[in-house]
Amino acid sequence: MSAAPSIAIASGKGGTGKTTVAIHLAATLLFHRRSVQYLDCDVEEPNGHLFLKPKIDAVESVGIPVPVVDAARCIACGKCAGVCEFNAIAMLKKPLVFPELCHGCGACALVCPVGAIRETPRAVGVAETGRAGCIAFAQGRLNVGEPMAPPLIRAVKARRDPEAVALYDSPPGTSCSVVATVRGADFVVLVTEPTPFGLHDLDLAVATLRPMGRPLGVVVNRADEDRRVQDYCQAENLPVLAELPDDRRVAETYARGELLFDRLPDWRGRFEDLWARIEERL
């Protein structure tokens, strides 16, 4: 049997409901007795744990390899600084390394003609795994002030259980972090809201993700009489997987860090329908 599917939950605009959709999809899959894993790839501000309240079993440091120059061997040729795409090495009297700008690609060590560069790990954050009841859980926590999120996101995804349906909770926007999260996913759910910002940023997200060739679908959260998102989806030939109505009780439940299904059983059917729409596209 091939690996269970992976589904990325992304958005353009932040605060549209990615985590709400991801954790309730996880709960819905449990009702179907499916093995499920929730992976919080929003490593700058992971929040799924607030709702799932997992027990963390393992915490591992994640680093990227950064160059250290052996001054005794260095001949100050400047090739390392020249090859760096990220301006992380300045060639002054000798090479000066700025580790916080380094993406860990290793090009500097490859081009050094005298082997003066060795790479040492620089910690960017931690990857944590555990369980929230029957839901397998993984998340990354990026160090405060640290800009290099994609290596940590890849480390979180490397902790995926291939037997379980994977739900990747993505950061918002259209950055490298989003691309790192969505890459390799079997399906991408884009959560948006019926506002000009929601539509504008959805359009950006679609433009970013379409070239990646993953099938896309849209969830309109806090849906109201404004139909511009739905009109856009029709024009762009994007399936609208669900329209979740604007409901103050949902916000109240979310604010308490609780799952909707416990207090609002009528919401269970909406996520059943959403999962059915996703599953038929896998």
């Binding site: 600084a81 990220f86 301006n87 992380a88 300045a90 060639m91 002054l92 009297k93 000798k94 000066l96 700025f98 916080e100 700008l101 800009p147």
Partner: protein, 121 residues
Amino acid sequence: MKVVLTSSGQTLADPIDMHFGRAKVFILADTETGRAVAHDNAQNLHAAQGAGIQSAETVARLGAEAVVTGSVGPKAYKALQAAGIKIALVEAVCPGTEALRRFKDNELPVLDQPNGESHWV
């Protein structure tokens, strides 16, 4: 002595650019001969990251011993220090000619720590 002034234009008559890393133009001036040559900094001006570091590298390559500017961020400061380049500060925008005269008369304070904000990272 060779000194680089960060400038918003091509000549010493133009106002000083107060930013070091993303300065529009570097004017390399010789304090003895008065000769001044403009060097475009467009490449670093539009760099995604590390503009200050690259600008420091450019200044070092031009052979300057000092730089006259308005503000220098932490990484550019570190790079300029490593290259042994002195940083002299103007507190407000003025023409390059005036900044150069004040530099020659030792009227400009020398920076001994970064005074600019780090951008992005």
